[in-house]
Amino acid sequence: MKTCLVVDDSKVIRKVARHILETLDFEVREAGDGREALDSCMAATPDVVLLDWNMPVMSGMDFLRALKDSGLPQRPKVVFCTTENGMAYIRAAIEAGADEYVMKPFDRETLESKLQIVGVA
């Protein structure tokens, strides 16, 4: 079973994502900000991180940079999942090392499609 770390400061979004991911046979972990997400990755690397952009403590972009510098032997796939839907944001995320990008709001098909594209579903 693949593991997905859902990183979002909204409990509702985490709950919705968890529900969808569990129907896609993922084991789901949750983090409320980038710092918690980084700690979670250091403890056990998930297969994929579903990552919000704007969060308290540590943003999604800061998490991505920290993950790059973390020295983890195997980096998880990172799929941004955010309301920042402009091309400039998307380009910045991909240039910073994100593997895919989900524009909120999302549905099951969108999430499944993007996870297939990064090779974890």
Partner: protein, 287 residues
């Protein structure tokens, strides 16, 4: 006029008449166990026209005797389910096959017909693959002709404009960045991508195929809506559009077996079908 949240009522007579209209115009059938689709699909049209039920819609269809309302009903009933890079492995194999066909016939461009293209995601996916070097160095990108029976779907395909949900189904973000621009909440295909495709309206069960012979015909997830008899008829049309030895690509779960002897399974590209060659003059390498 007030409409309840539940689906508007429709008598079985109205449902039968609407089903018959769809079948007459497009050859598509709605199975009895999917009759609920009629009410669901037509609900927005009923609302737009201020009609309270399918019976009222049928009464208006009979009274007006003009094609416009009928066209709108048929358009609403057509299943336009599609996505970018649907069954991506099939498209990758198609690119390999197209490259091989082009190498066999360097004197002309390979021609591909995407039939039942709905809102255009299939031909756009092909155009992206070929433009990104799918043909290899020195080989021209193939000509792509895309057809659908639905004028509304074709209008959308020609515009190349997709909602946020549609653009995210099957399309990798890097390709989206390369080939699409943001357009007020939607995403619009760049003109240089759209220019690679000729869109035409064509009814597979009633119209001649697009002019000229094709090397490859895709007809994926279309035949499943037709009766066995209509499928046989459509296979004849598809065969007439293909060059001898050309390839037919169907959807997963669709087959020619037991329906036509105009195609045989292709040895080299599994899941594809080869048009039977009537003349030994030119043998395809696909066996």
């Amino acid at each position: 006029m007030h409409f309840p949240n539940s689906t508007p009522p429709g008598s079985s007579g109205a449902m039968n008449l609407i089903s018959a209209l769809l079948e007459q115009r497009t050859g598509q059938q709605i199975a009895a166990n999917r009759a609920w689709r009629i009410e669901t699909a037509l609900k927005p049209l009923l609302r737009e026209k201020g009609l309270a039920s399918l019976d009222q819609l049928v009464a208006q269809l009979v009274a007006t005797r003009t094609g416009d309302l009928g066209d709108q009903v048929v358009d609403a009933l057509l299943n336009q389910e599609t996505s970018f890079f649907r069954d991506a492995a099939v498209l990758d194999m198609l690119v390999d096959a197209t490259r091989a066909l082009q190498a066999e016939t360097p004197e002309r461009k390979v021609r591909i017909w995407s039939s039942g293209c709905s809102t255009g995601q299939e031909p756009l996916s092909l155009a992206m693959l070929f433009d990104e070097g799918g043909m290899g160095e020195g080989l021209a990108a193939p000509e792509i002709v895309a057809t659908d029976v639905s004028p509304a779907a074709l209008t959308r395909a020609r515009a190349g404009r997709y909602s946020q949900f549609e653009i995210q189904r099957g399309l990798p973000v890097r390709r989206m960045m390369t080939w699409f621009d943001g357009a007020g909440g939607d995403w619009a295909a760049k003109p240089e991508l759209l220019r690679r495709i000729q869109f035409r309206q064509q009814n597979l069960t009633a119209d001649a195929p697009p002019p000229g012979k094709f090397d490859v015909v895709l007809c994926r997830n279309v035949l499943l809506y037709f009766s066995q008899d209509v499928r046989r008829q459509v296979f004849g049309i598809l065969a007439s559009a293909l060059r001898p030895g050309g390839l037919l690509v169907l959807g997963a779960g669709e087959t020619v077996i037991g329906l036509t002897d105009q195609f045989k399974p292709c040895d080299r590209f599994r899941g594809f079908y080869r048009a039977i060659e009537t003349s030994p003059a030119r043998r395809s390498a696909f066996g």
